[in-house]
Symmetry: D2
Subunit: 313 residues, 4 copies
């Protein structure tokens, strides 16, 4: 059985794992990410892979990273959280490792992971929506990862959903991720609590009276315990997600939408509002096959697993 | 050289043509469309094809129709302007014609036509945006027509661009085609003229003083003659289009966007504002390859030509 | 019984009448208004008064005019539709007539007329809202006409009701009269008809198919005949009026609001929605005395009658 | 010289003072306000007055209280923060005190105080705008306090300035005081800080990192020290105030607007933006006399002083 190494490069951590052909992680490590130093990250990735390959017979390496990867899957054109600008990461790593390397956008890699071994294993067409700090997306079409003409597609978090809306970190206004991300969830809950909304007071109390201590997991926990404000905030988030997914469905027509990312841990507290908002926003939904909306299965290891599998192909 | 017959079924007319392998139309006919009678349309299509095949050696028939076509390209699931609901149109026509038939969404067929013989002949990835009564879309990816999991993708006109926006014919609010179509252009110009906007008075005069006589071609003509209101109305339309195309580009990442449909006849009066609005709405555009926005080349025959070519494949 | 002459100076007509102490019009005349020539209007007013005084023993002259009148009731500071800018109209007319003259804002004069002889004859505190081309206002407090510190108060039509709203003729955005006037009624109905609103088609037919032939009286007539669109348009207008009157009531606390101006001819078709919208927009309405909303009684002669009565005092 | 006692009844404190004919406070006391017990407040007021009258020869008592006071100045119809509902407060206090008592709305009393002895002593027509927890108003016209037909006028904080705007404590949406009060200032600053606005971080640091510790005085202090966020927040508040005052000026036409309440302590940091926003929002401002906008002079004793003076008249 051929083994591959999957690497997930984030802003604070680099995770690496040895993955077999069934998507099983045989061994996994994490190291700090020296995010601001381009060469240091490359060294860190190479070190991680070398350590894993000292104990496993690895055939290829797949690296998932946030940002734009070129069509040839070799160069990081731009990464919002890391130092890379037009860096031939494939070349740099192959030089250090003497192994074939494939670079992929992290959400694309995660979509591939869920398609191969997770929530989309039974279909050919899938849209992954990751709900975390931002909103990421990955698309599988007819069993192939969708990469676009230049390799930079599926950036669904920057579809505009509100003209003249909330300013996004990217500089535009009204981007989907300003309404559908975990950051939006936290921002709105904190603002309500700090602005004096009476309904938010129990959650504020859970946060020790400090609005800045309100976090996504705290909201999810409170919602599970029945707190109406927390349930409502997840429902508002889910509504934005459902409406955005409807727009994406008009364009992409996937068979399954998989909701991943940290906030997807809220489960039905998030997914029920997503489904409720989705259907009425789908044109002529009584005359077309309706996709399924599912929770992701591979958690935060989808990228790792997907990247390794892409490298093996 | 293999010839194919292309048919474009509209709400008022059915057009049929004989197309060669270079996309050239050898002969073309149009008949009235008996839109409300499902069988009568099928008979009309068959009659048209029979007439053409009496004079040409036709190998296959491609039919483009507005609406949802199933993944197998055989059944019209739903057509907004025609009587078809879950009709096996391929079967009905093959029974009448004894020729292989392929059914395709009309905007998809037009996208294929522009890809093969028109404005996108030199690229592998293309998004066609047709600006007419509504806003239609067709996508070609890696040289293949993109059809989605259920065959109903690329319905870009129903992507929501304004929450709680203008009511659409589909029943939703804020659909792209309520802002980016020729109907939107005419609606806004008429409303301004009827509401007493001083700037609109010269255009109103051109329309004989009756706001209802303001049409898309009249606006385009006035704009060409330098009328500031008409130029402005096309610029507003172009801005909505450019902003919507930016959102679509985040998701689809095409190499070329082709603007077709009747309003594209306005040329640079429309395309210049589209381009001006597009770029600032594209996240991190300084770090990614930028697509080209081009005018369609095949006019209202793109669907005919594309459908024929699809049938031949 | 002392008689006085009342004059109402409009943009197209000048009306003059002889009024007795009971508010009865003994004789009335109208002449064209030479609106663009300041002196010519003064001559026309003087001619009209002289003719009336040749047959009646007139003690004083009251002139109502749209615009800002100074605190001393002598000078027209500014008139939007007439040529006067800082004109001592009282002096000009007294020189021509040898009679005491009082100048008053037209809506103020109308408010005084309704207070003395019309819908507000039984109360001490009244707000008149005139719904015509614009929205005008006049206020009577404790039995005295309210004139403000500089004589330019009660300009309720330019209270802002929508931030960044519709551009007003005055140059500001979102003024009350852009939502609560007869012009707003007509503008919206024409825009809906010209924009293709299906509901508006019967009214459009009544207008001979030309949206520009839709007028306020046509809408009122259609509403009386049960046309749902016309009824709805009057209800939308009435809602804006009721909401604006609620804001004015928070500030002014009148005992009676009188709705005048041409559109008030619609009667309960307008007043019922005004009342329905008013109450929920009044803070703590269950804890305060509630004013009455009444239709004006003196029609378009309220200004004439009021101006004459003010002159006599 | 006749002395009068002025009482200001707030939600947490009752202040009482002995005031001479020049508006000078000879002695002042404060006691806790038993806000939820109607009779206990009356006893507390009576006790306070008795103590003051034991040392001064008091001729009359004026009481200012938040809420609706009837036209006869005897009955509290409704008080949002106190227990009174239709209470004959004048009767209750005269029974306890054997002195003539006058009841007045607190902002009205403050307007009268500023008119007689403060920022409006030199004019006959004044609008007081108090910017504190809410937005209160008082109007003096031709040297008389404006009380409206039912005694409940000048409630400018509940004029609607944004349709479908922020929910107000009164149950309506979009009330002026949701945009122009100190509470609005604090709410917006806290929400920005809690929501992660980078610009707000220095202010958040001043608040010890806890958004809930951001207060009006903290914002004012930071603005005085040049903090751009704090300056900006005061400018946004001032803009809303200036725009609202423009609407009120269209209606009321005062000679002077006096800005009082706790936030007016910010001085020109607030008043400069008020003036800058006011003028462009005043229709035809180049054709009318322009009022002055001044800072209040009597601070939080304006109500006390005004109530006493009203009692003496």
């Amino acid at each position: 059985m051929t083994l591959a190494c999957g690497v997930d490069v984030g802003g604070t951590k680099i995770a690496g794992g040895v993955i077999d052909e069934d998507g099983t992680i045989l061994e996994e490590h994490r190291v700090e990410s020296p995010a601001t130093d381009s060469e240091a990250i490359e060294d860190a990735i190479a070190g991680l892979v070398k350590e894993l390959s000292s104990r496993h017979d690895i055939a290829a390496v797949g690296v998932g990273a946030a940002g734009y990867i070129n069509k040839a899957r070799s160069t990081v054109l731009f990464s919002p959280n890391l130092a890379w600008r037009d860096v031939d990461l494939k070349g740099e790593l192959e030089r250090r490792l003497d192994l074939p390397v494939v670079i992929e956008n992290d959400a694309n890699a995660a979509a591939w992971g869920e398609f191969r071994f997770g929530a989309g294993h039974d279909v050919d067409d899938l849209l992954l929506v990751t709900v975390g700090t931002g909103v990421g997306g990955g698309v599988v079409l007819d069993g192939e990862l969708y990469r676009g003409a230049f390799g930079v597609g599926a950036e669904i978090g920057h579809m505009r959903v509100v003209p003249d809306g909330i300013v996004c970190g990217c500089g535009k206004k009204g981007c989907f991720e300003q309404y559908g991300s975990g950051s939006a969830l936290v921002r709105e809950a904190r603002a309500a609590a700090a602005g004096g909304s009476p309904l938010s007071q129990p959650l504020l109390k859970l946060a020790g009276g400090d609005p800045l201590k309100i976090t996504g997991p705290l909201i999810t926990d409170a919602a599970r315990d029945g707190d109406p404000f927390a349930i409502g905030q997840l429902a508002i988030l889910g509504t934005w997600l459902g409406e955005g997914i409807a727009s994406l469905t008009e364009v992409l027509d996937p068979a399954v939408v998989v909701i991943g990312g940290g906030v997807s841990e809220a489960g039905e507290l998030l997914l029920a509002p997503v489904r409720a908002a989705f259907l009425p926003q789908l044109t002529a939904h009584e005359h077309r096959p309706i996709l399924e909306i599912r929770k992701a299965r591979l958690g935060n290891r989808a990228g790792l697993i997907g990247a390794a599998d892409l490298a093996r192909r």
